[in-house]
C-alpha cells in the first residue's frame, strides 16, 4: 500500500503536502489534479508537512488534492534501446508523446518493450557475480551492449542459469542468480538506478591519461582533454559556446555521446535532431545519431526537471561506462542547472549564499564532476566518462559562483573570450587563460610522446610561450606605437599571429577545416614551429606585416584544402618559395 497525503498549500511549483506516515527525503510522489498525475520530488520535511517540488505547472491545483508516494527516489530505466533516443529530463521518450504541445502529466517509457534483441551469453552457470558484471551482450546500433548484474544488487551471487543465445525482449528473464541464502533472483535486460547516486560498479578509478581526440586544434593541441577527463567552457552569450560544443560532440572519438541540453534553446536541440541522423561519425563511418542520446530539458520546460536532467544524463553515461565504453557527456549549460537550484532554494526560504545561489552549490558541482572519470572495471576492462560542461556566466563575468566553483573541480578550462569573438577569431578560446592540467600529468606525457612525438609537449609549451609574448608585445605596441618598439618585436608578434590564425583558429563551418585529425595537427604544428624558429630579414615593420599576412593566407588555404591533396601541395610549394625568399642566411 503506497503512502498517501493531501495538498495543503501551493506556491508556484512548490507544494506543501500533509502526510501521516514515514516519508524519505527525495522520494518521488504523484499529485492528482483533474485526472492528471503530476510528478514531484520531496525536498524538505517539517513534522507532518512535506515540501515537494513539482516537475510540471501547478496551474489549477487545489488544496485537498490527493498525493501518492512512490517509495523510491527519482530513478532512470537502464537497458538496451536508449541510444538514438530523444528524452526529456525525467527520461520520458519525447517521440512517443502525442501532439505538438507537451501535455502535463504525460509520462512515456524510454525503452521499447516489444523489440527483440539478439542476446549472446558471456557468463556461464556457476560463475560468482557481483553488481556490474557482464552476463551477456546484445547488439545496440552496432555497439556491444552489455547486460549486467543490476547495480542495486549488493554482495555476491552465483549464476544459476543463463539464457542461451537467441532473441529476447527487454523484460524477459535472461539469467537467474542465487544469493548467499540460496534465494533465486531473476535478471532481465532492464534495471533501475536512482539518478543522484553514483554507480560504483568498478574496481578503481586511476588518473586518466589517454588523449580524447576532438579534431578541434585549440583543444587537442593546445589544451588536450583525456578519456575520463573533465573540462568546462565558460563564455558570455555570442562567444561561440554552442558551436564549439556541437563540434566536440560531432567529432570526438567517443563510443557514446550523451548530450544534456539543460535549460537551453529548443532550436539548438532541433539542430541536433535534424543534423545528427545525417552526419557521419568521422571515426566509424556510421551515422552520428546511432551513438548519441539526447536529454532535452529546454529553457521553456519545467524548471524542476532541469535539475533532474543533468543527473539523468550522468546516470545513463555511467551505465554505458560500465560496459567498457568511452562515453562523452556534454552538459549545456550547468549554469541553468545552478539557477534551478537557486529558484528552489529561494522558494524554500533558505538563507542565500553568493548571488542568491544556495550555500552548498560548490559541493553539488564538485560531486557531479566527480562522477566522471576513467575506470577499471571488475573484469579489468576499462571505461570512461569524459565530461564537458558549459557555463553561462552572468554578465560575462568569470568571477561568479558557478564559474568559480566549477574551476575548482574541472581539469580543463576553455575560456571563451568576448574580444576574440568580436574579432571573429573562432573558436574564441582565449589562448593564454585557458589550460589543461593533463599536460602536466607524467602519464599523459608518456602517452602523447608515443602517440605523436617525443618533443610534442615541448612544442605545445613553446607555442603557449610565444602567444604570451605576442600579447605582451601587442600591448606595448598599443602604448608605444609601431615605431616605438624594435623591429624584432614585430617579428615576434607576427609569429604569434601566425600561430593564432593557422593553428588556434578553425572554421567550424568548413567541411575540411572543421575536423583536424591528430596527424594533421602534428603537421601544422611542425610547420609552425619551423617558421617560428626561423630567422628573417626585414627593412621595416610594414614589410614584416605584409610578409606574414601572405604566409598566414597560404597556410590558411592549406588548412582549407584536403590533406596531402594536389591543392594542398600547391599551396605548400608557394609557401616554401615565400619562406626561402626571406630566409636570412
Amino acid at each position: 500500500m503506497a503512502t498517501k497525503g493531501t495538498v495543503k498549500g501551493i506556491i508556484s511549483n512548490l507544494v506543501i503536502v500533509g502526510v501521516d506516515e514515514p516519508i524519505s527525503q527525495n522520494e518521488i510522489c504523484y499529485i492528482t489534479t483533474n485526472e492528471t498525475r503530476l510528478m514531484a520530488e520531496v525536498i524538505k520535511i517539517i513534522g507532518k508537512e512535506v515540501y515537494v517540488q513539482v516537475f510540471e505547472s501547478t496551474r489549477g491545483l487545489k488544496v485537498g488534492a490527493e498525493v501518492e508516494f512512490a517509495g523510491h527516489m527519482l530513478e532512470v530505466v537502464l537497458g538496451p534501446g536508449l541510444l538514438s533516443r530523444n528524452l526529456d529530463g525525467l527520461q520520458n521518450d519525447l517521440d512517443k508523446m502525442e501532439g505538438v504541445f507537451l501535455k502535463r502529466g504525460q509520462y512515456t517509457y524510454p525503452l521499447d518493450e516489444e523489440t527483440l534483441w539478439e542476446f549472446v551469453p558471456l557468463a556461464k552457470e556457476g560463475d560468482t557475480v557481483t553488481a556490474g558484471d557482464w552476463l551477456g551482450q546484445v547488439d545496440e546500433n552496432f555497439q556491444p551492449h552489455k547486460i549486467m548484474v543490476p547495480f542495486k544488487m549488493t554482495g555476491s551471487y552465483t549464476l544459476k542459469s543463463i539464457a542461451p543465445a537467441g532473441r529476447y525482449t527487454v523484460n524477459e528473464t535472461i539469467a537467474v542468480v542465487t544469493d548467499e541464502e540460496n534465494a533465486e533472483l531473476p535478471i532481465t535486460m532492464v534495471q533501475r538506478w536512482p539518478v543522484k547516486k553514483s554507480v560504483m560498479a568498478y574496481r578503481e578509478k586511476p588518473r586518466p591519461f589517454k588523449l580524447l581526440e576532438t579534431g578541434v586544434r585549440v583543444i587537442d593541441t593546445a589544451n588536450p582533454i583525456v578519456e575520463g577527463g573533465t573540462g568546462f567552457i565558460p563564455g558570455a552569450f555570442g562567444t561561440g559556446k554552442t558551436v564549439l560544443q556541437h563540434a566536440i560532440s560531432k567529432q570526438a572519438e567517443a563510443d557514446i555521446v550523451v548530450m544534456a541540453a539543460c535549460g537551453e534553446r529548443a532550436n539548438e536541440v532541433v539542430e541536433i535532431f535534424t543534423e545528427f541522423p545525417h552526419l557521419v561519425d568521422p571515426h566509424t563511418g556510421r551515422k552520428l545519431m546511432e551513438r548519441t542520446i539526447i536529454i532535452a530539458n529546454t529553457s521553456n520546460m519545467p524548471v524542476a526537471a532541469r535539475e533532474a536532467s543533468v543527473y539523468t544524463a550522468m546516470t545513463i553515461s555511467e551505465y554505458y561506462r560500465s560496459m567498457g565504453l568511452k562515453v562523452l557527456l556534454m552538459a549545456d549549460s550547468t549554469s541553468r542547472w545552478a539557477q534551478a537550484l537557486r529558484e528552489q532554494s529561494n522558494r524554500l526560504e533558505e538563507l542565500p549564499g553568493p548571488d542568491a545561489f544556495p550555500m552548498d552549490l560548490s559541493a553539488i558541482i564538485s560531486n557531479f564532476y566527480g562522477r566522471a572519470g576513467y575506470v577499471i572495471l571488475n573484469n579489468n576492462q576499462t571505461g570512461s566518462i569524459t565530461f564537458i560542461g558549459t557555463v553561462s556566466p552572468a554578465g560575462g563575468n568569470l568571477k561568479e559562483p558557478v564559474t568559480e566553483n566549477t574551476k575548482k573541480v574541472a581539469r580543463c578550462f576553455y575560456a571563451l573570450e568576448q574580444e576574440r569573438a568580436d574579432k571573429k577569431r573562432y573558436p574564441a578560446v582565449n589562448p593564454i587563460d585557458s589550460y589543461s592540467k593533463y599536460l602536466e600529468y607524467p602519464e599523459f606525457e608518456k602517452y602523447i610522446s608515443k602517440l605523436i612525438s617525443e618533443d610534442w609537449i615541448d612544442h605545445v609549451n613553446e607555442i603557449k610561450t610565444r602567444m604570451q609574448r605576442g600579447k605582451e608585445i601587442s600591448e606595448q605596441i598599443n602604448i608605444l606605437g609601431d615605431d616605438g618598439v624594435p623591429l624584432d618585436y614585430h617579428i615576434t608578434f607576427w609569429k604569434s599571429e601566425l600561430i593564432d590564425f593557422v593553428l588556434l583558429q578553425q572554421d567550424a563551418f568548413d567541411d575540411v577545416d572543421s575536423v583536424t585529425p591528430i596527424e594533421r595537427q602534428k603537421n601544422i604544428m611542425d610547420n609552425i614551429i619551423h617558421l617560428c624558429r626561423m630567422e628573417f630579414k626585414f627593412a621595416n615593420f610594414t614589410e614584416v606585416m605584409d610578409y606574414f599576412k601572405k604566409i598566414i593566407n597560404l597556410m590558411k588555404q592549406m588548412n582549407y584544402a584536403v590533406f596531402q591533396s594536389e591543392e594542398y601541395h600547391g599551396y605548400e610549394k608557394q609557401l616554401n618559395m615565400l619562406v626561402n625568399e626571406r630566409k636570412s642566411a
Partner: protein, 441 residues
C-alpha cells in the same frame, strides 16, 4: 465581468499590500483568476484556506470588505480570425472602440511545443537592411532582440522590418509603451495598408505596470492560433521587454522573494525563456518569429535583463550612431544572428559566409587603426586603407536606411573589398576570390 448566480462572493479581506490581498476561501485553484471589487486578480499563493491574490491594477482604494469573486479559470483569450486588425489592452479587452471578438477561449501561457515536433528553421526573412540581411540574417522561427539605449530609433527599425518581412500576421505586444510610440506604430501600419494583418496588445506607460505581465502571453497566444490553426507565418514584436522585467521585479519584491542580480527575481531566466521559446517553426509551415526590444541603461549589457536575454535569444542586434558617416548603423561587432548559418550560403549566394566574415574582420582592423590614430600614432598605408574601407562599408552596407537585396549587398561588398584591399589581405578562400574578385577597371 458579470457575476454569475452560483458563484460565492467573499467579503472579508485579511491582508492588503501594494499589489496583493489575502483572504480565506476554499476550493480555489492555483493561477486562477478572481475579481476584487471588479479589478482582475490572480491566485499566487495558497496555504490551507489562506489565498493570496495579485491584483493587476494595484490595490489602491481597495477596502477590507471588497467583493471577491473567483472565476474558476486562468487568464484566457478568445482566439479567432476576428482578432485581425484589432487593438486590445493587457487583459484582452478592445481599446479601439470595436466589439469584443468572438472565438475559442484558450488559456494564455499554455504548454510548450515538444522539441521533437519542431522543425529546424530554414526560411530567410529579408528586410533589405544589409546590416541585418548580410551580417545578421534573420530566419523565420527565430527570436532576436534589439539591444538599444532608449534614445535609439529601435521602434522605427522594428516597424520597417515588420512591414518588409513577408509574413501573414504581425502581432504587436507593447509593454510600458509611450503613448506617442503606440500611435506611431498605429500610423505606420495603417499608412502601409497593413492594418488588417496586425493584432495589437498594448499596455502604455499610463497603464498599471503589473498588467504588463500578461502582454507577452496574450500576444503569443494569438500568434499560436494563427501559426498552429491557420499555418500562417507570424511575426511578434515585443517592445519593451525591460519594462516587462521591471514589472516582474515589482511583483517578486512585493511577494518578499530574495532578489538576485540587479534586484531581479531569481527566476528571471526562466520567466523570459518561457516567452522567447514560443518562437518556433512548425513542420506544417506555420511559424512564430519574435523580434523584441530590450532597452539598456547606458549601453550596459551586463545588467541582468539583457544578460539573461542574450542567453535565451538567438542573437541580438545593436544599433550605434557612427559619427564618421553621421548615420545609425547595425553594429557588426556585437550584433549576431545565431540562425544565420542555416541560410547563408544556402538560401543566399555561396560567397555569403566568407564575404561577411572578411568584411567584419577588416572593419575590426579599421577600429584598431582608429584607436592608433586617436592615440597620436602614425598610421600605416594599410591602416589608412582600412579606415577608408570602414567609412564606405558603414555608409553603404551597415546604415539602417539601406534597402537592397542580398545579392546586391554581396556585390557591393566585393566592390568595397577590391577598392581598398589586395586579394591576399582579405583571407577568403581562393576559389571564391577567383570567381568574385572585382579587378580594377
Amino acid at each position: 465581468m458579470a457575476t454569475k448566480a452560483f458563484q460565492k462572493i467573499y467579503t472579508q479581506i485579511t491582508q492588503i499590500t501594494k499589489a496583493t490581498c489575502s483572504l480565506k476561501a476554499r476550493e480555489v485553484g492555483y493561477d486562477e483568476l478572481a475579481t476584487v471589487n471588479g479589478r482582475l486578480a490572480q491566485v499566487v499563493k495558497i496555504i490551507g484556506e489562506n489565498i493570496t491574490l495579485q491584483v493587476f491594477s494595484g490595490t489602491e482604494g481597495i477596502p477590507t470588505n471588497a467583493e471577491v469573486v473567483f472565476l474558476g479559470k486562468a487568464p484566457t483569450l478568445k482566439v479567432g480570425d476576428q482578432l485581425a486588425g484589432r487593438f486590445f489592452n493587457a487583459l484582452g479587452k478592445p481599446i479601439d472602440g470595436g466589439p469584443v471578438p468572438e472565438g475559442k477561449e484558450v488559456e494564455i501561457g499554455g504548454p510548450s511545443v515538444n522539441p521533437v515536433r519542431r522543425k529546424q528553421p530554414s526560411e530567410l526573412i529579408a528586410t533589405g537592411i544589409a546590416g541585418i540581411d548580410l551580417n545578421n540574417t534573420l530566419v523565420s522561427g527565430q527570436k532576436i532582440p534589439f539591444f538599444a539605449d532608449p534614445d535609439q530609433p529601435y521602434n522605427v527599425v522594428m516597424a520597417n522590418v515588420a512591414l518588409r518581412a513577408k509574413t501573414d500576421k504581425i502581432i504587436l505586444g507593447g509593454m510600458g509603451l509611450a503613448n506617442d510610440d503606440y500611435l506611431y506604430f498605429k500610423n505606420v501600419f495603417s499608412n502601409a495598408g497593413a492594418l488588417d494583418r496586425i493584432v495589437s496588445f498594448v499596455n502604455t506607460a499610463e497603464n498599471p505596470p503589473v498588467e504588463r505581465l500578461l502582454i507577452p502571453d496574450m500576444a503569443l497566444t494569438a500568434a499560436e492560433y494563427f501559426a498552429v490553426e491557420k499555418n500562417e507565418k507570424v511575426l511578434v514584436l515585443l517592445t519593451d521587454m525591460s519594462s516587462y522585467a521591471d514589472a516582474l521585479s515589482i511583483v517578486s519584491n512585493r511577494m518578499d522573494q530574495i532578489p538576485s542580480k540587479d534586484s531581479m527575481p531569481g527566476s528571471l531566466y526562466s520567466d523570459l525563456a518561457k516567452i522567447y521559446e514560443k518562437a518556433v517553426q512548425f513542420p506544417s509551415g506555420g511559424s512564430i518569429t519574435i523580434i523584441a526590444v530590450t532597452t539598456l541603461s547606458g549601453g550596459d549589457i551586463t545588467h541582468a535583463v539583457p544578460d539573461n536575454t542574450g542567453y535565451i535569444t538567438e542573437g541580438q542586434l545593436y544599433l550605434r550612431r557612427d559619427s564618421d558617416v553621421g548615420k545609425v548603423i547595425i553594429d557588426p561587432f556585437r550584433s549576431l544572428s545565431r540562425l544565420k548559418q542555416l541560410v547563408i550560403g544556402k538560401k543566399t549566394r555561396e560567397d555569403h559566409p566568407q564575404v561577411m566574415n572578411a568584411a567584419v574582420r577588416l572593419y575590426a582592423d579599421a577600429a584598431n587603426a582608429k584607436t592608433k590614430q586617436e592615440n597620436g600614432f602614425d598610421l600605416t598605408h594599410y591602416d589608412e586603407r582600412a579606415l577608408a574601407f570602414a567609412k564606405d562599408y558603414s555608409r553603404h552596407i551597415l546604415a539602417i536606411d539601406v534597402n537592397i537585396d542580398t545579392t546586391e549587398m554581396l556585390d557591393k561588398t566585393w566592390n568595397l573589398l577590391s577598392t581598398h584591399f589586395r586579394p591576399e589581405e582579405v583571407n577568403i578562400k581562393h576559389t571564391l576570390i577567383e570567381k568574385y574578385w572585382k579587378e580594377d577597371e
